[in-house]
């Protein structure tokens, strides 16, 4: 018998329900980027190290390149496009801009998703806690100084 090559999945992303037939081997990140066309989620490596593809799945920050699309069947996902309601930047997005926590902006969506998850779990994190929460996200531009500062500012209500 031939193995199943594709499956129809149903996934909620940023409050919208998507039903699509996907290849069984399709990575979740490719489903999000190529099938649903939410290109804010990025790809920076093939090994799960860089975190550019971080999204929130059922409330957990996950690397969407480390998961198959079929595994996300029935899940609720939030991507960077789901952060700003009606184009109004949320406090964390605004803080990233205020603190110059981004340069090229390629790692930024993943950073925002990891940091959002941290702040939801721990609204007033220490610098040590911020650094631990973001150690799965690589940034090659900023040296992390201003990213950590931006998250800290939100936690301290300064943003």
């Amino acid at each position: 018998m031939e193995p199943v090559a594709s499956e129809t999945i149903s996934v909620e992303i940023n409050g919208e329900l998507y039903e699509r037939e996907v290849d069984a081997r399709r990575l979740l990140v490719h489903f999000i980027r190529d099938d649903v066309d939410l290109t804010g989620t990025h790809i920076g490596c093939d090994t799960g190290n860089c975190g550019a593809c971080t999204v929130q799945l059922d409330g957990q920050a996950i690397k969407s390149c480390m998961m198959l699309a079929v595994q996300a069947d029935g899940a609720s996902i939030r991507t960077v496009e789901g952060l700003a309601a009606d184009g109004e930047l949320n406090a964390l997005q605004q803080s990233f801009s205020d603190h110059h926590a981004l340069q090229c902006g390629y790692c930024t969506p993943g950073m925002l998703m990891s940091a959002s998850h941290l702040l939801e779990q721990n609204p007033h994190p220490t610098e040590e806690e911020i650094r631990k929460a973001l150690q799965g996200n690589i940034c090659r531009c900023t040296g992390y100084v201003n990213i950590v500062e931006a998250v800290k500012a939100v936690g301290e209500g300064r943003s």
Binding site: L38, C45, D46, C104, Y106, G136
Partner: protein, 821 residues
């Protein structure tokens, strides 16, 4: 853990305006919402996805390539091999003199592979996954050859990579300024260092390379939606190879996920995409995989320094040095041999020595080709000068701070002409060092040593004095090859006032995170009298916008000079015309008109004697019947900024090789665990002097980023090859770039010495000169002083190397010899 202390040391008073202020970045709003447009985000109907078939061998003959099984797969659109490339294209031009000039570099391997990961064929299919599957079906038969992984071995020519060149040596030459033999003869001490090695790494931008390429059959024109950071020069490489005019290649970029020089040599891949797009009659898309980026895209130059001899006077004055440098450019020169001369922009480093001889050789090896990498070629040489200073200081018992201050070029000597005719435009290195020392609490050094010792740790203090030379004079290429027809530099920009009063700016530059939209708006708003929010700077680059010049791009630390110089020039042309037009409409003399707050108005005139920008834009563009025939304003201006260098002296190998010199003085404290060799940076300060800071927050961000790259390179990042030429660090598992937990507290400070030669008094500063590598090597050597005083001989010092130095200090000490009178 991190604190950022800004020490205000402003040496200049800026005019009131947007320049000098950290206004909100225009780019951020889209980027924090995931609305940036990177090349991989662009979709076209009917796109074919490309996967490259790559060599598993570092050096091998290609016996045969069979694509039939791949072509038979349902959904495969087509393939291309090296044989087809050799028919339809010409080799890329080489910049070297022979033997390097005779190298034949095609877009795909032809007949032979010369590095692991070299593309030998490409497959195009309906999806990325299918293209990858099909690529696995391509049968390539290889006949392996011995691999060369060491440039000194390669220089012996026992095995030759490029038969048509007949030698592995790409370029060699001697640079001799002053009289180093006399300096050594007159020295009180001569310090000899047998070998120092600057390792191979790269900035590994988080976004890999790639492009979506469309071909228009009717016009024979290609459009490349891509992330090339130097499309002006990219087109100069590609058009002759593709046998087309340069205007047939349209480069478009918007957001680029970091580049750092690593996206300059993309032309081989892009030529393959152009050929496939034409052959298959459909858009083709290629996104590089991370492993391919590490294995086969672009590494920084690896360089070995041999037989260094330094002349030192009894009072600690260093009068000169000589060295043999062997540079490893990997399998193909591509941007090389420019690295054989670029270092000469900073020949004496931060120091006043006048007698310098460098015997420079560059060789090919069976490793990935190099390309410019943040700090390109100068960083390697500056690392040498800092190693020399620290080794001399340690061996002669001189204080590392005092010996630097004694030998630094002094602020009062600026502008300072180096022994090879370069001009350091401004700077105050001693003052910068003082600020750095203060930031790390240097006065408490002894106390901190004792404190570390009490915890079983070795504390080390290090300095990295470095320069970021910016705005290249391409004329330096003629010092390598007098036949080359490149010199000077240029960049273009356009500024227009549109029909509804919109101020629109188009740049020739290719930003990758440096905030060009923001800083360009600051410059324009100050000149034409409006707010930066009123200025729309088009994101990215489009070579069909007519705003680019031959050297357009974002590289070599120059935007603040060339990019903003072009913006300033165009804005001034627009301003003059707006004044002229307002004077005509308001029936007032031009001198009476001022531009402010988005209006052209009569100074001290009645309130109604004012025209909003919208009125000016509308008159010229849509309501111009009343303008007289001899007055034809366009309100649309293109300006090409061209720095003045004059010609270089080919005989003496002298000239103004670059325009501006930003300085970066870093100081740090490290603690080493003697049991493991683990190094922890416990205090770190970087003091930058880039003249006028157009946007201080962006400048500081660049300092942070360059420091992070340097820390990664100094402690972890290393492209290690085994003897067969297999890369052992081909992804982010094995190639460890700094994460949040790896970054120490960073303190920054600045000095502002305005450049007398740049349009805004600003200097390029983004590359950072590898200051952190120098500082950390310096600190590690200092920390190990009490453990047999080993010499830090390599630019990369992960714990295993530090541990080895602790175990066998003598082995490294054998590298140094001091002769005193």
């Amino acid at each position: 853990m991190s604190t950022t202390t800004i020490t205000t040391e402003s040496g200049t008073v800026l005019e009131k305006g947007a320049i000098g202020q950290s206004i909100p970045r225009k780019e951020d709003r889209r980027l924090v919402q995931g609305q940036g447009v990177f090349f991989d985000d662009i979709r076209r109907h009917g796109t074919g996805y490309v996967h490259f078939v790559r060599s598993p061998y570092a050096h091998a003959k290609i016996v045969s390539i069979d694509v039939s099984a791949a072509l038979a797969l349902d959904g495969v659109y087509g393939t291309i091999t090296g044989d087809e490339v050799a028919i339809h294209t010409d080799p890329f031009f080489e910049m070297s003199t022979p033997p390097g000039a005779n190298i034949k570099d095609y877009a795909l391997a032809v007949g032979k592979v010369r590095f692991q990961g070299e593309p030998v064929a490409a497959v195009c299919a309906t999806t990325r996954e299918l293209a990858r599957d099909a690529a696995e079906l391509v049968e390539v038969e290889y006949e392996p050859l011995p691999a060369l992984v060491d440039a000194e071995e390669a220089a012996k020519d026992e095995v030759v990579l490029h038969e048509e060149a007949g030698s592995n040596i790409v370029w060699s030459g001697v640079f001799d300024w002053g009289d180093v033999d006399q300096a050594l003869a007159e020295a009180d001490h001569v310090v000899k260092i047998k070998r120092l090695h600057f390792h191979r790494f790269s900035s590994t931008p988080l976004e890999c390379s790639g492009a979506l390429v469309e071909y228009q059959k009717g016009t024979g024109q290609w459009t490349l939606y891509c992330n090339h950071q130097m499309p002006g020069v990219g087109a100069i490489w590609m058009a002759p190879a593709l046998r087309c005019g340069i205007d047939k290649l349209r480069f478009v970029t918007q957001d680029i996920g970091g580049a750092f020089g690593n996206k300059i040599c993309l032309h081989p891949y892009y030529v393959v995409l152009c050929l496939l797009a034409r052959k298959l009659g459909r858009p083709v898309q290629w996104t590089e995989w991370r492993t391919d980026q590490h294995t086969a895209n672009a590494h920084g130059n690896e360089r070995t320094f041999l037989d260094v001899e330094v002349a030192v006077k009894a009072d600690g004055e260093m009068t000169g040095f000589k060295v043999k440098a062997v540079d490893d450019c990997g399998a193909f020169p591509r941007y090389e041999p420019l690295g054989c001369i670029i270092w000469a922009q900073v020949t004496p480093g931060c120091y006043g020595w006048r007698n310098i001889r460098v015997d420079f050789t560059q060789a090919c090896t069976n490793k990935a080709p190099v390309s410019p990498n943040r700090g390109y070629s100068r960083m390697q040489h500056l690392w040498l000068t800092e190693r020399v200073v620290d080794i001399v200081a340690a061996e002669l018992g001189l204080d590392p701070v005092e010996v630097r201050k004694r030998n630094y070029v002094k602020a009062e000597q600026m502008p300072y002409e180096t022994p090879n005719g370069c001009v350091y435009d401004s700077g105050d290195y001693a003052r910068s060092l003082d600020i750095a020392l203060e930031l790390i609490g240097y006065d408490r050094l002894d106390e901190r040593r004792k404190d570390a010792a009490a915890r079983g740790k070795l504390l080390g203090f290090g300095i990295g004095s470095t320069l970021d030379s910016g705005t290249n004079n391409f004329g330096q290429s003629q010092l390598l090859n007098p036949e080359l027809q490149f010199s000077g530099n240029n960049e273009a920009a356009m500024v227009k006032l549109d029909i509804f009063g919109e101020v629109v700016v188009t740049l020739g530059t290719v930003p990758q995170g440096q905030g060009h939209e923001t800083t360009a708006s600051q410059v324009v708003s100050d000149i034409i009298g409006c707010s930066p929010e009123q200025v729309h700077v088009r994101p990215g680059h489009d070579s069909f916008f007519n705003s680019s010049a031959g050297f357009s791009g974002t590289y070599a630390s120059q935007f603040a000079v060339t990019g903003l110089g072009a913006v300033k020039g165009a804005a001034e042309l627009l301003r003059d015309e707006m004044i002229k037009l307002a004077a005509f409409v308001l029936q007032a003399p031009e001198e009476a008109i001022e531009l402010a707050d988005g209006f052209a108005r009569i100074k001290d005139g009645p309130e109604e004697a004012a025209l909003p920008f919208m009125a000016l834009g509308a008159i010229v563009n849509a309501n111009n019947a009343f303008l007289p025939p001899d007055f034809n304003p366009t309100l649309n201006h293109r300006y090409v900024y061209r720095p003045y260098f004059g010609v270089v002296d080919v005989e003496k190998k002298m000239g103004k090789l670059t325009l501006t010199y930003a300085s970066q003085i870093h100081a740090c404290l490290v603690e080493i665990d003697p049991e493991t060799g683990q190094t922890e940076i416990v205090d770190y300060a970087a003091v930058d002097d880039c003249g006028v800071r157009v946007h201080p927050q962006i400048v500081e961000g660049q300092v942070h980023g360059a420091t992070a790259h340097a820390i990664g390179a100094a402690l972890h990042e290393d492209f290690v090859y085994d003897e067969d030429g297999t890369l052992l660090t081909p992804n982010f598992y094995d190639y460890h770039v700094p994460h949040t937990m790896d970054m120490p507290p960073l303190k920054t400070g600045y000095v502002e010495s305005p450049s007398p030669v740049s349009p805004l008094g600003a200097k390029g500063m983004g590359e950072g000169g590898g200051g952190g590598i120098h500082a950390i090597c310096s600190a590690i050597q200092d920390a190990l002083r009490s453990e047999g005083a080993p010499i830090v001989y390599d630019s990369c010092n992960p714990s295993h190397r530090v541990w080895s130095m602790l175990q066998d200090a003598e082995q490294t000490r054998a590298l140094v010899e001091v002769t005193s009178k």
